[in-house]
Amino acid sequence: MEKRAVFKSWWLPVVFALPQLLLILFFFYWPVAAVVNWAFTLEPPFGGPAEFVGLANFQEAFSDPFYWNSVMVSLIFATVGPLFAISIGLVLAIAVDRQLPGSGFFRFLYILPYAIAGPAAGMAFRFILSPERGLAATLNAAWPDIWNPAKYGEHALALVIIIFIWKWSGYTFIFLLAGLQSVPRALGEAAAMDGAGPFRRAIDVQVPLLAPTLFFLLVTMMTEGFVGADTFGIVHAVTEGGPNHGTEVMVYRIVDEAFKGLNYSGASAQSIILIGLIMIFTFIQFRFVEKRVHYK
């Protein structure tokens, strides 16, 4: 869509856009260029200019079993978390969209967890789902060690995924509700006249019409799961990647490697892989999933 009535000036738009472009240049493009540069070079241990080492940094990452572990953890985190968050949001949106008395109240409440920062939520959940106190303690009293995120990697991973789901369900809910409200009422009425009950209508009319929104949410949520600020924040505040690397997601490993291990080149190579992964991923989703999505 192009505007017809535009102002003619070559320098004014430059002046208007300059502040943001400068910021982006300094804090986005320069760092991205540096990531690429560092990924293919290595700084000698006793100073001097960085040497070009080709793909050595990538080979180092690929030959490290802990790296593959972090890829696995990220994959689980970024599929299980979004799937649950979207499903919960979908069920709640369909329920609220029936507009029974009082549903406005629930709609108001469901978005609230989204206001909470991942680490702050993490701190609270460390208490709520702690093995010794809070809600899980009763369970542990009956069956000792059935839930212990401090000891078992799988439990810790479940804990950080639960926090992710808690925070993002309200977000998916908002988008799906907005999507449902744009479905013409007449469609539901016609289906009801044909004898379809509320459940049938939800599955055969509403969900297919929500396909674009569901698709959009899947892409955003999975990206969020792989590289989102909350993914890092939750893991860092709750488990610090442990126990025994059980919750070490890819972003956590990159930051850890760079600032604790001071291995900038290794961290940059891992950043590049992550960036590539996200791009392939978005591409596959657009290419293959979109074909089966009904627009309009």
Partner: protein, 295 residues
């Protein structure tokens, strides 16, 4: 409601109540725990009833984590990020939408690409730039003629360093661009016929018209700024610049110390409160901003 179906209605309410327990339940646990004594909060099974110890716990948390300083810093950071974002993104969107210029597509795409790579994957070199802001300038100078400058401009431990890299993303620009595109072409035409230049048009017509967008953007950017975690963690070493997300850690009971989780929960509740109030009170604007920026 399309038809009268008592069973479906009952199921709907059951689902909504279940959603309430899942999503709001944790808040109730936090509120109950934050107002109990240490003995009560560690009791098994946990009691969901709030007691009267909240003020005492909150005072203790406030002192332990130095929340006065942290809250002030977070507030300053959130306000600066919000103001910077609202101002800069409206300017850029104006330049992209309302000018016929060959650079327009270059501007658009160079801003658009920033959406793809969040701070987390480029945090190491971004930190390096913040530690020495003139690094890119030095590099360019050394390419053209080998001039060396010895000045370092360090942004670590400053509000500038805390906020500038967070403003350098595209979210707000798209919100404004989307809105500017919906305005009829006749608006700019009429303004031009009446003798208004682009600057006057921007300040006297566009800005007043985009008040709703500004409010929506303000709410989401405030929450975004307040909830920043990784960046302050790296940038700040001086305790007088620490933010609330950094002070969370000092709220935790020590591993072998007294398990005073009531204090931890009271402190976390205080930290959660500002964004919670924004999303609760200004929910209409928040939701609007959310739905509009992400599409």
């Amino acid at each position: 409601m399309i038809q009268r179906t008592p069973i479906a209605d009952a199921v709907t309410y059951a689902i909504m109540v279940l959603g309430f327990i899942l999503l709001i339940g944790p808040f109730l646990v936090i509120i109950a725990g934050a107002s109990q004594t240490m003995q009560q909060v560690n009791a098994i099974p946990f009691s969901f009833l709030p007691e009267n110890q909240f003020l005492a716990n909150a005072t203790q948390a406030w002192q332990r984590a130095d929340l006065g300083t942290a809250m002030t810093n977070s507030l300053i950071m959130a306000v600066l990020v919000t103001a910077g974002k609202v101002a800069l993104s409206s300017l850029t969107a104006f330049a992209i939408v309302f000018f016929r210029s060959p650079l327009k597509h270059l501007f658009f795409w160079s801003v658009f690409i920033t959406l793809m790579l969040p701070l987390e994957v480029r945090v190491v070199p971004t930190y390096a730039v913040a530690a020495d802001l003139l690094q890119p300038v030095k590099f360019i100078l050394s390419l053209f003629g080998g001039i060396q400058i010895g000045v370092d401009w360090n942004l670590l431990n400053s509000y500038t360093g805390l906020t500038l890299p967070l403003i350098a993303t595209a979210t707000g620009t798209f919100l404004y661009r989307q809105f500017f595109m919906t305005l009829p072409d006749e608006l700019a035409e009429a303004a031009r016929m009446d003798g208004s230049g682009p600057v006057r048009f921007f300040f006297d017509m566009l800005l007043p018209l985009s008040r709703t967008n500004m409010l929506a953007l303000t709410t989401i950017m405030f929450v975004y700024g307040w909830n920043q975690y990784l960046w302050p963690l790296l940038m700040v070493t001086d305790p007088s610049y620490k933010t609330v997300m950094m002070s969370l850690r000092s709220l935790l009971p020590a591993d072998n110390g007294t398990p005073d989780w009531n204090v931890t929960l009271a402190g976390s509740l205080l930290i959660m409160l500002p964004p919670l109030v924004v999303v609760g009170v200004l929910q209409r604007w928040f939701v609007r901003g959310l739905v509009a920026t992400d599409k």
